[in-house]
Amino acid sequence: MNFQQILVYITLAIAIGFLVKKFLWKKKPKKSNSCGDDCACH
């Protein structure tokens, strides 16, 4: 494997890591303020 190929694999790993973090790695949500099906929420 030459130097350019190593750079390609590093770039690829960063790109995959970014997408995984963005879409799959979710922080635990804090207490939600949503109301669900509740008309009298407010």
Partner: protein, 704 residues
């Protein structure tokens, strides 16, 4: 935080010019984020007050009072009642405006009663003479027990006085405006005796508001001082009446209004702009103007960007040492970035127009105008704000539905908003329209491409309304409904506000969507440049052997041989195998496997479509010539039929697919958050994508 930084909370009713004051104080030193745990927008910025002191300014969501009726308003109360919050202000700056001072002062008196040092800003001072309004500031300061800054964010006056007042905030009186005990003396005296160390008005807010108080013994207070809901409401009304009595008495001596000086331009404009016929015609005309301009004005900068990146890609390939990383740069990364940057002009123009409409006060008239229509479809007039904001991005638009009090109307708005054409669809529409719609003019001045774009926006809006009707019929939720909206004064939009909004929104597209597009471009390039089988690895030998068998290889142009090898490789690459696998499902829609890859990858975010095609076509073309994305797409030929891949039928099919499909993971996430359930985003995804497939299929089969 050091003592050299003063924490300032900027609070006020909606439409008082709070954001203008924030912009004047902070300039470009702004950060936009969310409050922890919830998706209410949090804007903060820094302002230099003197050589040694600066202010950290938090622009809180607009609220009419401290009696919260929406999640946005809860944010204000939770901050002001929690001294342990890291953003708890050293000083509150309450922004009001000259024309509605009486109503604005209700919030001011409530905040003052929390004994937080409070400065009163009377904004839009430049309109005083126009409206015949005069203030006796010393009297107002004495009665309201505060310091007042008379500000015109438009004329940039009074900001330095405001900074000086913030700097000297410690000298401000914290004496309340209203003694809370007057609301119900017996009840409040008992409350005071039970909690001698707590502020009386703060206790009252804890009892009456349904918000999370992290550091107050809410249950203890509530259990001991429970009153029925109707009793609490009655006391809240009594409090409001007492406050208005105080405000009336204050303004009687501190404000003078000469009605004869007031001009009636606003009423005249309102009569025309909200007219039951002219109102809609004007709105339609404005929309048409916007879409014409987006296409016409963006053409030159877009062509320039496209050509620049194409040249850069060719330069990189020719001047860097040959190898895989050079290929990644020239065929993956640079075309990927180009797929983001090229749409900046159109997105900036769209937000420019939306900002101008909002800033001028016209958008509120549109909300009023649309209420009558919206109500027929189970929506509220307030739904028009998310639906129009949805032209920027569905995520903040769905969040903005929080000010719709009725849950059913809010749910319907959340579910149909993703149909409106967001800025991520714009790049897809722009490139497809330029490929399949000729650059012709109708009546000599209307661009056919611009009209097509407008039609797509109207189709999205129409589908949103149609879906709302269906949901209104099927959803069995009975909620009371009412509609109240404030009509702000007409104003000439401020350049600074418009410019900051355009920069903020365009930046959000480039940094938010841009990173995703770039990451996917890199992965797609890799998948298109590598393959698992021997067919891929021995592509050169296989193609040459095939050519030798079919004709005299010496007579074939070397460039043609190179392109045949590239196409063969792409077909047998990972991406090619994946594309071929899904081809049977998308072929009836008129798409080949390359478009299929772009469609599948854009289910994460639809703006990825153009970048993906740019990457795929770059991988499949090894010519050194400079060819733009658009030309590459236009030149794609179906090897079986010999027809163009992007023809009228497949183009319309693609446009309709993108108009209706739910292709945004972030939107799904925000719908889940706002509805607190996976049920609604799943229904939304299945319905939208299924409908998109069906319409694209019908369109292609009819038009082909």
């Amino acid at each position: 935080m050091s003592k050299s930084t003063i924490k300032v909370a900027l609070i006020g009713n909606p439409n008082v010019g709070k954001t203008s004051v924030f912009n004047q104080l902070t300039g470009l030193n702004q950060q936009v984020g969310n409050y922890p745990g919830i998706t209410v927008e949090k804007k903060q910025g820094a302002s230099k007050l003197s050589d040694n002191v600066k202010a950290k300014i938090i622009d809180l969501p607009g609220t009419y009072s401290l009696n919260a009726s929406s999640i946005d308003e809860n944010v204000v109360i939770e901050l002001l009642l929690n001294k342990k919050d890291e953003d708890f202000p050293d000083v509150a700056v309450v922004v009001t405006e000259v024309e509605n001072l009486k109503r604005n002062l209700l919030l001011f008196t409530q905040i003052k009663d929390l004994e937080i040092p409070t400065i009163l800003v009377i904004n839009m001072a430049d309109r005083m003479s126009l409206k015949g309004i005069e203030f006796d500031l010393p009297i107002l300061e004495r009665e309201l027990k505060t310091k007042i800054a008379l500000v015109s964010s438009r004329k940039k006056t009074g900001i330095s006085e405001l900074k000086s007042l913030i700097l000297n905030y410690e000298s401000l009186s914290t004496e309340p405006c209203l003694n809370a005990s007057v609301i119900d003396p017996d009840y409040f005296n008992n409350l005071r005796r039970a909690f001698p160390n707590q502020l009386l008005y703060k206790l009252w807010l804890v009892i009456t508001q349904d918000v999370n108080f992290l550091n107050l013994e809410r249950n203890e207070i509530k259990n001991s001082f429970t009153k029925s809901h109707s009793d609490l409401k009655r006391l809240q009304q009594k409090e409001t009446i007492k406050r208005y009595q105080f405000i009336n008495d204050t303004l009687k001596i501190g404000q003078k209004i000469d009605a004869s000086k007031a001009t009636d331009l606003r009423a005249k404009l309102d009569r025309v702009l909200t007219h039951k016929v002219f109102g809609y015609l004007i709105f339609f005309g404005i929309l048409m103007l916007i879409f014409q301009s987006i296409f016409d004005w963006s053409k030159i900068p877009m062509d320039f960007i496209d050509e620049t990146f194409t040249s850069l890609s060719a330069y990189t390939k020719n001047h860097l040492p040959a190898g895989e990383f050079t290929n990644l740069l020239s065929e993956g990364i640079i075309p990927g970035i180009s797929g983001i940057v090229i749409f900046i002009p159109q997105i900036a123009f769209l937000f420019l127009f939306i900002s101008i409409l909002e800033e001028s006060g016209y958008m509120s008239r549109v909300v009023f105008l649309m209420d009558k229509i919206m109500r027929r479809f189970g929506l509220s007039g307030k739904s028009i704000v998310p639906l129009i904001s949805g032209t920027a991005c569905a995520i903040p638009a769905i969040m903005s539905a929080r000010n719709i009090e009725n849950w059913k109307e809010r749910l319907i708005t959340i579910l149909v908003t993703p149909f409106t054409t967001c800025s991520a669809r714009l790049p897809v529409y722009a490139i497809l329209i330029s490929l399949i719609i000729p650059e012709e003019r109708v009546f000599g001045f209307l661009s056919l491409q611009g009209l097509t774009l407008m039609l797509l926006y109207l189709i999205g809006f129409g589908m949103a309304v149609l879906s709302a009707t269906l949901l209104n019929y099927f959803l069995k939720l009975n909620c009371k409904s009412y509609f109240v909206i404030e009509m702000p004064s007409y104003k000439v939009p401020m350049f600074k506000n418009v410019a900051l909004n355009v920069i903020e929104k365009t930046k959000a597209f480039v940094t938010g969507a841009g990173k995703i597009i770039l990451a996917l471009s890199i992965i797609l390039w890799f998948l298109g440049s590598h393959g698992p089988t021997n067919n891929f690895k021995n592509a050169d030998a296989i193609v040459l052997q095939e050519l030798e068998l079919s004709q005299n290889i010496a007579s074939i142009e070397p460039e043609l041989i190179e392109n045949k090898i590239s196409s063969y490789k792409l077909e047998h690459s990972y991406i090619g195998i994946l594309g071929k696998a899904i081809e049977p499902a998308i072929r009836p829609l008129g798409y080949d496997w390359k478009i299929g890859i772009a469609v599948v990858s854009s289910f994460a975010a639809r703006e990825v479509f153009v970048g993906t095609l740019a990457t795929i076509y770059n991988v499949g073309n090894h010519s050194d010539e400079e060819v733009t994305i658009k030309n590459r797409m236009a030149a794609e030929i179906n090897p079986v039929t010999g027809e163009k891949i992007f023809n009228f039928a497949s183009g319309i099919s693609l446009l309709l697919f993108y108009a209706f499909a739910m292709q945004c993971m972030s939107t799904i996430a925000i719908v889940k958050k706002e509805t607190n359930s996976w049920k609604w985003p799943l229904i939304q995804f299945v319905f939208m994508s299924g409908f998109a497939y069906l319409t694209a299929l019908i369109a292609y089969q009819i038009l082909k």
